[in-house]
């Protein structure tokens, strides 16, 4: 393979901006929240001024939801989203509070909550509890919370160890907090699909939350600590055990691959290409013709609207999910125009962002309702919460749909 001469990164990436303003056209926040100065002003323009003097840092940068749609749209390959996030991490004087702590520590909160799942689920759903959260912690009362499951995915996996080890070929799984605490069935679906393809699944030695919520809530030191643990485990899997590391969450995957080096300054070049979404791995495997999947004949017909999550858009990988869905005989896949649903992880949970969040998602919600689909499918868990809360549809991960259609 010959490589071309385009330099993908330079130290002063913001200088590639030629002020064409395309980014602001595609910024979901600028479209609905006039308090946000927009990606061009917050990113490359602001960066020049901040280099002049740190006083030019504007706290309004907190409204950026880090969807990276500006980067996808940019004809100049400016890493606008990264510039904004880095500026926040570097300059923001607002120290994160209890709310940020609660929202950001998905695995700590998750491990406590799963122990007492029914109580937690019932409590956070109660009106008085929501009122307290709204008033005291400033988590919007209109939000529905993802339910915690009883027992974690890791716990289930430990019982599967022998069965999984029996497969000749193996993959490692970065399950993420959501699969572990909220939705173990997705993890199980992944295992089922991988097994059907002839692969056994094993956990990483030690997995911490990828840290996306820590980064966006300003806990950069803790994020870096956790990232180092994850990179250590990933290196063991990739380099020592020669295993690919797969994940089901587009955001976790994106964080491990790109936010670690770009925002946390952690070099992952030796393992980055070995961390990928399961859908991409499966697509590669199936298109090589080495293996085939056998589908149930009795699977009910399903019209699936596929929603491209923001980080999936940034990765450019929605084609893999769409191809897999389209391959399932019982599924009719309807792609939705790629647009932000407004939740952006913990962003939409914050009281001050609720209105913005729902306004951003409104056109998508409308399209979903109009699509006549039975279910929506997406690779991102927070999109799932947002769409389930804001539309009448249920949301499934492509692998859940795939697993369900298998013999």
């Amino acid at each position: 393979m010959k490589m071309n001469t385009i330099k993908e990164t330079s130290q002063n990436n913001f200088e590639q901006c030629i002020k064409c303003t395309v980014c602001t056209v595609y910024c979901p926040v600028a479209a609905v929240n006039p308090l946000y100065p927009g990606p061009k002003q917050s990113g490359p323009d602001g960066e020049r001024l901040r280099l002049k003097r740190p006083e030019f840092y504007d706290e309004a940068l907190k409204y950026c939801l880090n969807c990276k749609r500006c980067e996808v749209a940019c004809p100049s390959n400016v890493r606008i989203g990264d510039i904004i996030q880095l500026a926040r991490l570097k300059h923001s004087k607002k120290s994160p509070g209890l709310r940020e702590f609660t929202l950001a520590n998905t695995d700590l909160v998750g491990s406590v909550a799963t122990l007492a799942a029914p109580i937690v689920n019932a409590t956070v759903a109660l009106k008085p509890m929501k009122a307290i959260m709204d008033a005291v912690v400033k988590i919007d009362h209109r939000r529905t919370f993802p339910k915690y499951s009883q027992g974690t995915f890791e716990g289930w996996m430990r019982k599967q160890r022998e069965a999984q080890a029996a497969f000749e070929r193996q993959v490692a799984f970065f399950h993420g907090c959501y699969v572990n605490y909220n939705n173990p069935p997705l993890g199980k679906a992944f295992v089922k699909v991988m097994n059907a393809l002839g692969y056994g699944v094993q956990l990483l030695d030690k997995e911490k939350c990828c840290g996306v919520a820590l980064i966006s809530n300003g806990f950069v030191k803790q994020a870096r600590r956790q990232a180092k643990v994850n990179l250590g485990s990933i290196r063991t899997a990739v380099i020592e055990r020669k295993l690919p590391v797969l994940a089901t969450s587009s955001t976790c995957t994106f964080t491990l691959r790109d936010e670690y080096p770009h925002l946390l300054g952690l070099d992952n070049a030796d393992v980055r290409d070995s961390v990928e979404l399961a859908v991409r791995f499966i697509y590669r495997l199936l298109s090589s013709g080495e293996v085939q999947l056998r589908f149930r004949k009795d699977a009910p017909k399903l019209r699936v609207a596929y929603h491209t999550a923001c980080h999936m858009e940034k990765l450019g990988w929605s084609c893999y999910s769409k191809e897999l869905l389209a391959m399932i005989p019982s599924v009719e896949m309807v792609p939705l125009d790629s647009q932000c649903c407004g939740i952006a992880g913990t962003y939409g949970f914050k009281k001050e962002n609720y209105a913005t969040s729902q306004a951003i998602g409104e056109p998508l919600f409308r399209k979903i309702e109009e699509s006549g689909c039975d279910v929506v499918s997406t690779d991102c868990e927070t999109c799932k919460w947002q769409i389930e809360m804001s539309t009448s549809k249920r949301v499934l991960h492509p692998l859940e749909i795939l697993a369900d259609a298998l013999e």
Partner: protein, 418 residues
């Protein structure tokens, strides 16, 4: 990933080429590194406005032979004077079929009204834009030029003064709307696309209609900045219907709302025809065998390459990074194919920016079939269309969009012939 054709570059040229291939049943993917120059469209598509000698052109169809004579390296020379009109018609039809409403004719240029108030020769103009059959002035003799208060990317007086010189009575009207106050409060966001989003709302259309009805007086038409309708196409029609007035728009500083709409329409049509459009990805490498490109690799897709029978390079010129100028030379960064250029950096420029700049005619060298040359020899299946081509000046000759679209048509024809 396996396709029949891989098109690199998702702007006007890449989309026209992709649309024609997809409609002919080819499995196509467009790989686009960010949004395209359509976002800065004037609202018109030029075919041929002037000859290299500087003489202005009324009928591109009649004068193209002269152009080719004066400038044999021009991409139109590869299309040929005989096939020119037919190719132009095919290009126009591709837009129309995609739902882009344009009108104009290769037999006779018409004139668009620039934001500076002058009339400029062009070929196709998006419906809704102010246009004139002659250079002498507008058909309307009495107009109101409106602008939203605080919108700095459009200055009414520039237009009004010129129109008056050309015999049209003009009045200026500045209006404000409660819904605009929210964005006006943000010092940077009073931009065309943001305003257009507001006017996508029914209520704002109704309010604007009322203002127009109130202010229009006895005028023949109401002229507005092109900040209407980003997610819907019918805003201007709605205004006309509600006010019973002629309403038309004039280009603003970027971003161009109608240009964005055109981009969206073309992309949707391409996807409807079965094409796959990948935005925000860059070609990073390729496999080549015996003078044929077998596969390209991208930043996003890493080891999963895109293999195809034909590849189309529609990556544009400098702005879109289809051409890259280093301190030493101009290069084509993806495949390293030959670039026609002046020998040294000192010869790239003229001191008057508005004059014909040598760098503007730099571009990828191609054979008669628009296949890229490397070391003077054509690559078997790498075609080039659009602004990255060499041998013409898009601005002084008023042929930028024409070259993009006509070369795309010809490239798609060449591919389909194979």
């Amino acid at each position: 990933m396996r396709y029949d054709s891989v098109i690199i570059g998702g702007g006007l040229s890449g989309l026209v080429c992709g649309l024609r291939l997809a409609k002919a049943g080819k499995r196509c993917v467009i790989i686009s590194a960010g949004q395209s120059a359509l976002h800065f469209s004037s609202g018109s598509f030029d075919l041929l406005g002037a000859l290299p000698s500087g003489e202005s052109v009324g009928s591109p169809a009649e004068r193209v032979a002269q152009l080719i004579e004066q400038e044999p390296s021009h991409p139109y020379a590869k299309i040929g004077a005989e096939a020119f009109v037919e190719t132009a018609e095919a290009a126009k039809q591709t837009l129309v079929d995609a739902g882009v409403r344009v009108s104009g004719d290769a037999a006779q240029n018409h004139y668009r009204l620039t934001p500076m108030g002058t009339l400029k020769a062009t070929w196709l103009t998006l419906d809704g834009y102010v246009r004139s059959a002659t250079e002498e002035g507008l058909e309307w003799k009495n107009v109101v030029v409106m602008n939203a208060e605080g919108f700095l990317d459009f200055y009414t007086q520039f237009i009004v003064d010129e129109l008056r010189k050309k015999g049209t009575t003009c009045r200026v009207c500045s209006f404000s709307l409660a819904a605009l106050d929210a964005i006006r409060n943000n010092p940077t966001e009073m931009r065309s696309a943001n305003i257009a989003r507001i006017f996508d709302g029914e209520e704002c259309i109704a309010q604007l209609s009322e203002i127009i009805s109130r202010e229009a007086g006895d005028s023949d038409a109401v002229l507005l900045p092109a900040f209407l309708g980003i997610n819907r196409y019918d805003v201007l029609d709605e205004l006309k219907r509600r006010t019973g007035r002629e309403c038309a728009v004039i280009a603003t500083l970027p971003p161009s709302v109608p240009g964005i709409r055109t981009q969206i329409a073309l992309r949707r049509a391409f996807e409807r025809a079965g094409g796959v459009y990948m935005l925000g990805d860059t070609v990073a490498g390729y496999d080549e065998k015996d003078g044929r490109i077998e596969r390209v690799y991208t930043v996003n897709h890493g080891d999963i390459g895109f293999s195809a029978d034909e590849f189309v390079l529609a990556t544009g010129s400098f702005f879109s990074r289809g051409l890259e100028a280093t301190r030493e030379a101009v290069i084509e960064p993806l495949f390293g194919v030959d670039v026609e250029q002046a020998a040294s950096r000192g010869e790239w420029f003229e001191r008057d920016l508005f004059a014909k700049q040598p760098f503007e005619s730099f571009g990828v060298a191609t054979d008669g079939e628009f296949r890229a040359l490397r070391g003077g020899k054509p690559l078997q299946n790498l075609y080039v269309c659009g602004a990255g081509l060499s041998g013409y000046n898009p601005l002084t000759e008023g042929c930028g969009a024409g070259v993009s679209m006509l070369s795309a048509v010809r490239v798609s024809d060449n591919i389909l012939k194979r």
